[in-house]
Symmetry: C3
Amino acid sequence: MPCDPLHSFSYRINIPQPGAFRHPARRKSAGGGESSSGPRPARHLHTFPGVIGLALIAILSDFGQTEYVGILRGVIQRLAPGTTVTDLYNEVRPQSIREGAWVLYTAYRYFPEDTIFLCVVDPGVGSDRQALAIRTRRYFFVGPDNGLLFPAVTEDGLKEAVQLPIPPDAAPTFHARDVFAPAAARLAAGTPMNELGPSAEIKARLRFHKKGREGEIVRVDRFGNIITNLPHIGKDSYHVIVEGYRRTLPFVRTYAEAPRGRLFVTEGSAGTLEISLRNRSAWSVMDVPLGSKITIE
Amino acid sequence: MPCDPLHSFSYRINIPQPGAFRHPARRKSAGGGESSSGPRPARHLHTFPGVIGLALIAILSDFGQTEYVGILRGVIQRLAPGTTVTDLYNEVRPQSIREGAWVLYTAYRYFPEDTIFLCVVDPGVGSDRQALAIRTRRYFFVGPDNGLLFPAVTEDGLKEAVQLPIPPDAAPTFHARDVFAPAAARLAAGTPMNELGPSAEIKARLRFHKKGREGEIVRVDRFGNIITNLPHIGKDSYHVIVEGYRRTLPFVRTYAEAPRGRLFVTEGSAGTLEISLRNRSAWSVMDVPLGSKITIE
Amino acid sequence: MPCDPLHSFSYRINIPQPGAFRHPARRKSAGGGESSSGPRPARHLHTFPGVIGLALIAILSDFGQTEYVGILRGVIQRLAPGTTVTDLYNEVRPQSIREGAWVLYTAYRYFPEDTIFLCVVDPGVGSDRQALAIRTRRYFFVGPDNGLLFPAVTEDGLKEAVQLPIPPDAAPTFHARDVFAPAAARLAAGTPMNELGPSAEIKARLRFHKKGREGEIVRVDRFGNIITNLPHIGKDSYHVIVEGYRRTLPFVRTYAEAPRGRLFVTEGSAGTLEISLRNRSAWSVMDVPLGSKITIE
């Protein structure tokens, strides 16, 4: 009696060992950091699109807790049933490409290889900015070509970028639903990059300012912490120069050790310096614009 | 040597090809738009409740980001382990059946067939309003009989409605947990509709006002956009008549093209006209009640 | 021809029947409420970590809708691919251990057995408070030893607690990412408790005050309802004594029956008494501190 594992359209699932998942697009790359030995179960993804739960899509947007994110989830499940969809962050300040780029840059590395980041902070939606799908050394990124993806893509190592076509019936205010989510879902279902669109150059090259100990204020978080892109260099106190301010602030390791009623410097979870105030918003007493140059030395 | 695919209680998973999932309830229906050929793997759902990840439940509620939604997720995972549970939208204005109905009506179509919509905007919880589970041509809807489900159900095509019994120990303020989530989970696990309760008539028949070019304000979103149920008819400018207002406003295709400091009309992602103000809330300068009749021609 | 179910690294998935999932740690326990007969498919979890979707992690935190929760989800998917991760509640008032403990205590019971609760309300992060993983009769809890887990753990029945080591490179402000999420993920992937750390004693023993009909205000929810830990005892009206207030308030069963403009008492979804005001915040007119002792008789 024959033993046919594909009998009656059923299918044996591969064990998703950490790092074992490989998108078919990987097969094109000549090395690039991936191990070349061992099982490559992702070929099944290519053959049988939509296999349950092997692909992971993480959403970053400025949509807040709206139904717009819910609709993206619906679109993805329709095109790639069973894909795990997770929210990275949807509370980017509306249209703040810079904040979105910083959060993506500091967070992407904690996700498993081959995660597909669906990123939408897109003030130019409906204009002629490109829509992109990008493969890097270890990940995929889908979103507008406005700088949002650039710091993460550059750090991880660009391998391939394609321009997503805009269907004629796409809503001019909602490419997230009609362009980006479908592209992310197709990647999740195993579609090769080159079937998503023609090869493209990334145009918008957002870089965070950094020159020695001069960096920038990349973000103010919801607690009012003023976050920079400057790393801790082991000092007990720092000279801080930004806009009209010029101060010496103590460095403390944890909030529990922080002085009361006085600004201090600490190392945030992204490994960079932050200016904080215990139980209050530092930004409410040190009113500097997002994006300002700042020196901490 | 026998090859028993069900040996040791393991199970071969079906490939969830787009559209391949079919709830057992479909077997009752005589056609109704479903293809009748091809594999019908959902029979396994019936035989083995709770098969991983084949069913999708989408939640719409006015619970906000509370633990009430978290508890619904727990209840579902307890009764139908592995079901994919996704948030459609939980920020409906508290008790606004009308807003909930509009969001559901405009969003349900983006979800895969057989999605189970668990919908709770329920000011009458604990009263004698019916609790319903509904099967339409392509979807399932579970929620109170107060109009919330009606526009979506009517558009997709009602096939079958049953009345969910209220267990004597159900919390009178939380039928979401004790009545609706269990019903949605049982559908996800393959329970046939007629085991959920006796056949029922839908009583609350909410309809959005529309008579020629007179419609209604169906929603004000969190950005202050005033959303109507009137479609775009290709004009460059529109006469808007609502409450005391009577104005001519330009139509713009994308926010990027919008004038500064002046109200304009655009086509929202649901395909209907919205009144907007660039970088500000249109509602803050055009203070009309939700539900008002409005003419845009 | 041999029929090898593990050929080519594929794997047959077990049917996750309700209650069928068993973490390997259960094998140590001598009874304790678990049924000892029937299939125990979780042994596969032990052998093949990361099998899709069998384990469930529920997150409770005071992170709000930040990327911090998104990063936890990424860490979990990296270490235990395919794990179902769900939000229980992330809007605990910042650093309010007491509110977090109450929500966890009232909500955990609605989740399936073997759910892993990843709980982070952690004002002492970076100090010398212990980091714990706990197995109870039916669940797992991971979080700081500051009282947050204690009421739920005590009620369900403590079986085993281990102290999680803090890696030298853990961010002192983000143990959630570097200590707790990895531990929860390892449990999800089938790692036995005793491989997570040495056996530990729980130190912080938070208890909600309750002595006859004197209890405490355990929470004020986002609607301004004042929630106590006192059960309903069937009365039509209650004498309420708290701080300077001493009143008799009517009991109503549902919000729909509530009087307008007058405080009333109702039974909340957790089965305890709440003081409410229809369509308004009761807390805005009865300004009592969270944690106050209150008598309702």
